[in-house]
């Protein structure tokens, strides 16, 4: 509420100031007299007159009109200040000038809190001090990524992550990653070593060597490991060419008698022999020989016998390519199909990148007996198929290399 000022006026007399002295009953004692101060005036006082009183009234009114209340708008209020000399936090009791001086100091681009001149969130890396140190020993990294020393100021480097959470160099880890990178035109000494010791460093599913104009693609790591009546315990990489290496019949007539092992495909001079020659030329001295269980007899269109054999280059099976049998006979609870196989899971190559099954549009043989006359086939149109054994189709085998 604003103050309403009063207007003061000076008293006006009709002549020189005179007094009348009266009794209590207003009877006059002395009339028309002057009254003088008997004391000696040491200091003349300030006279109280209309001018002075009105000046006071005006001052009170001005204060009333211009003062700031706690809810008053100060948007137009200005303050004069200078930057504080040192970086000090604002404190209770600081006046406006001091407060704004301290704030200006905070934003000083060289001596204030760090920022890039316009954005306080962009702190220069060079201005960061007391940074956490990096743990450089992988063995000291805990699964949560912190250092085993337990200090929050010590953190793991990206290339030093605890073995439990980082991708390790081993068969299982590398079987899980599709990469598809060219590894060159020959297997290097370092790569042979990595295969031999089972780390498979810098080799992943789909990676390939281009040797003698054939793309040899990594299909699996240690796919056959520990399999066989004599265990295959050498670390190995299973390879599948992108293209057929030959064209051949399974048998001269439409019969599967003798199973895959007894087929003409595996005989001397056949398509598989041609493919084996090409493979041995590309990976001379490194193509693994290991034991596989292959069918060697067929009864009523079903594999009825199978045995362990020394093998190196063999046709793939439906399971290796598709991940399941499609046309191959299965046991029905009464008749047991003797299609024992160690190739009992899909090759990671085809699991991670199914388009590699049809890397080019041609038909190629699989080794599964389908009936008394047919073997399984991968069709050029991308569907699973079977053909009479006398058809001449592509030979796209799988084999394994060791260091």
């Amino acid at each position: 509420m604003s103050y309403t000022k009063n207007i003061w006026e000076n008293e006006l007399l009709d002549g020189e100031e005179r007094f009348v002295i009266k009794h209590d009953d207003d009877s006059i004692i002395e009339d028309n007299v002057k009254i003088d101060l008997k004391n000696t005036i040491i200091t003349n006082g300030t006279p109280v007159n209309a001018e002075r009183m009105n000046h006071i009234e005006q001052g009170i009114e001005d204060l009333s009109l211009n003062k700031l209340g706690k809810n008053d708008d100060i948007s137009e209020t200005t303050v004069t200040f200078t930057e504080a000399e040192t970086l000090v936090n604002p404190a209770t009791g600081d006046n406006q000038s001091t407060l704004w001086g301290k704030i200006l100091k905070i934003f000083n681009s060289t001596s204030g809190h760090d920022h890039n001149g316009t954005n306080s969130k962009k702190i220069s890396y060079s201005n960061i001090v007391d940074m956490p140190s990096f743990e450089t020993s992988a063995s000291n990294i805990k699964p949560d990524g912190t250092a085993s020393a337990g200090s929050l100021s010590t953190i793991a480097r990206a290339d030093h992550i605890h073995p439990e959470i980082r991708l390790l160099d081993n068969d299982g880890a590398h079987n899980s990653i599709w990469r598809g990178l060219s590894l060159g035109t020959s297997v290097t000494t370092a790569q042979w070593t990595a295969i031999s010791n089972g780390t498979f460093e810098d080799m992943y599913i789909g990676d390939y060597w281009t040797i003698n104009s054939v793309v040899w693609r990594i299909a699996a790591f240690n796919y056959f490991y520990n399999c066989g009546d004599t265990a295959f315990t050498s670390n190995h990489v299973t390879i599948v060419p992108d293209t057929s290496l030959a064209s051949s019949k399974m048998n001269d007539t439409n019969t599967t008698a003798g199973g895959y092992y007894g087929s003409q495909m595996r005989a001397s001079g056949s398509g598989l022999a041609t493919a084996t020659t090409i493979i041995n030329s590309a990976f001379s001295g490194h193509v693994a020989t290991h034991r596989q269980y292959l069918t060697n007899a067929v009864t009523n269109g079903r594999p009825s016998a199978s045995s362990w054999y020394d093998t190196s280059v063999e046709l793939m099976s439906e399971i290796m390519v598709y991940g399941c049998g499609i046309f191959k006979p299965v046991s029905d609870g009464t008749t047991i199909v003797a299609d024992h196989t160690i190739s009992k899971s899909q090759l990671p190559l085809f699991a991670l990148n199914p388009k590699l099954i049809i890397s080019s549009r041609y038909d190629w043989w699989l080794r599964d007996v389908v009936s008394a006359a047919d073997f399984a086939v991968v069709n050029n149109g991308g569907f699973a198929l079977r053909y009479g054994a006398s058809a001449s189709l592509g030979v796209r085998p799988a084999f394994s290399i060791i260091g």
């Binding site: 009864t299 045995s307 009464t334 047991i336 003797a338």
Partner: protein
Amino acid sequence: MYTIKLYDGTVLENLELNGNNFISDTIIPDTVFENNLKLIEISDGETTQTLTDQFLAANRVENGQSWFVIIDKTPEMKREEEMSDLQLALVELYESLLGGA
């Protein structure tokens, strides 16, 4: 090493087993097994297994060895044999009837 005693008492000795293939260092012709697998005994030297209604699924020669497979007859094979036996019995019946007439 395995030993197989066939239905007629023939004994095949010194057999190796690979998968379900028996391997003999001597050549064994198919005729040895013909009508001789109705009841057989297979011994590994410690235990003897008696099997009935077997048939020769495979018998081939590799590197001077006989690789042969003896397995259970399939239901289809048994049905076919039963049909053959039935047909034979009918023929005999007809012949006896005709002879009696």
